[in-house]
Amino acid sequence: MLSLSTEVNPRIDKPHNLRLQAVISLFRKDLLLELRQQHALYGVMLYVLSTVFVLYLTLDQPVAETWNALFWVMQLFVCINAVAKSFLQESRGRMLYFHTIAGPAEFVIAKVLYNLLLMAGMNMLTLLLFIAFMGDPTDSFWLFAGISCLGAFGLSLIFTMLAAIASKAMQQASLMAILGFPVIMPQLLLLMRLSKLAFSETFAAGADLGIVWLLLALDASVILLTLILFPFLWKD
């Protein structure tokens, strides 16, 4: 344990091969913890439910454009709440233990995968609740579900990195929102534009696929940056 804390410069780390086994076990650990300590998961679900209910009481059946905007803002807040705890729940002692068994890349990949799964689930829940309470203005449900999944992936990727940054500072949850909003804006604008496909708005030929590729390229660059930058947050 002591020898670990003396290693200050992350560059000293040998670039060791990524062990898939470690990624899988860390991922399983997160999943098992979630299933055993269910209060956190139910907490986020209840957050989704009560927010949709408040929206329903204040607006009941909004027009398509409002529905779309509300859905994505909702998605943003759900993502902050769901992803924030991924680094918050790790105590100091537990982090020290992870240092001894895994490298930074393995740890962060497991977190990213877990958050992707979590956000995919929360995304479907939000979508179903939205349609149940506030009507279904989409022309093609499955198209919108697919776009919202793409959006949920992008959001959870960015917020995983921001949660890692915020976990090193005080008042993490509110800090995550401050750090994240300016960074997430372009993705959100692209997603809102793209989801108009599901409201049968016509696009210039190829423009819709262009946006999808742009979003995927953004996601890829976020993954790359996370892999490069996370090792510097790992050593303390």
């Binding site: 500072a169 300016p182 960074v183 742009l214 947050l233």
Partner: protein
């Protein structure tokens, strides 16, 4: 003298930009008239801001490579001066917009809602918000080394995310702002030759002034750091 040539250059260029900016002839455009001279201040502020933010990110990368705390102080000072330049860019832009874009039938502030939706303004607002968040992040970490590391990581991450957004957002939204297809003022044909004579020296002058202020701040910070570590 060898070290201070760029400060002399800075003063000379700014003197030229201010005097020449007010006196030299400008093209006559009916919508703009004499407000066109604001180009020498408004656009230069944005240029200086982007250059200073870029310098800040370069120092953040250097910090992560060497873990030398003085690089962190440099990154912070350049970001701070960049932020001031950004706010000045907003101020000069607001004055300009009040005379050109704002609806003359209403008070100028009533047009704010529609002007703030401008893609260029959104891009600038995002850059400024990112660096405000950077300073709040810095202040919320107490340990010095950890603060330096965490803020350097955020600086690099946010800057890398900012660039695609400045490139994407203008292509999604309609705009009144000049330079719709890409980056205004980088295109040589955008600006009249007479204005270029003042504009480019002004950009260099304001950027040098920003760098000068930043180096003064850095020297002060390093002295303060030494004093505390010796005490």
């Amino acid at each position: 003298m060898r070290k201070s040539w760029w400060k002399i250059l800075c003063v000379a260029l700014l003197a030229y930009a201010v005097i020449g900016g007010i006196l030299l002839p400008v093209p006559e455009i009916p919508q703009l008239q004499e407000t066109i001279r604001n180009l020498y201040y408004h656009v230069c502020m944005w240029f200086a801001m982007m250059i200073l933010f870029t310098t800040s990110v370069v120092y953040s990368i250097k910090y992560l490579r060497t873990l030398d705390i003085s690089y962190d102080l440099r990154a912070r000072s350049f970001a701070a001066v960049g932020l001031v330049m950004g706010l000045l860019g907003y101020g000069t832009g607001a004055i300009w917009a009040a005379y050109t874009w704002a609806d003359p039938n209403n008070p100028a502030y009533a047009s704010f809602g529609s002007i703030a939706r401008e893609p260029k303004l959104i891009g600038a607002a995002m850059a400024i918000l990112v660096y405000f968040a950077y300073f709040i992040l810095r202040d919320s970490v107490t340990d010095m080394d950890r603060r330096a590391r965490v803020s350097a990581v955020y600086n690099i991450f946010a800057y890398a995310m900012l660039f695609p957004s400045i490139w994407i957002v203008p292509r999604l939204l309609p705009s009144l702002h000049p330079g719709q297809e890409g980056n205004p003022a980088l295109n040589f044909n955008d600006i009249d030759a007479r204005m270029r004579m003042v504009f480019y020296p002004a950009v260099i002058g304001w950027t040098l002034l920003g760098a000068w202020i930043a180096t003064l701040k850095i020297r002060l910070d390093i002295l303060r750091e030494k004093k505390w570590s010796n005490a």
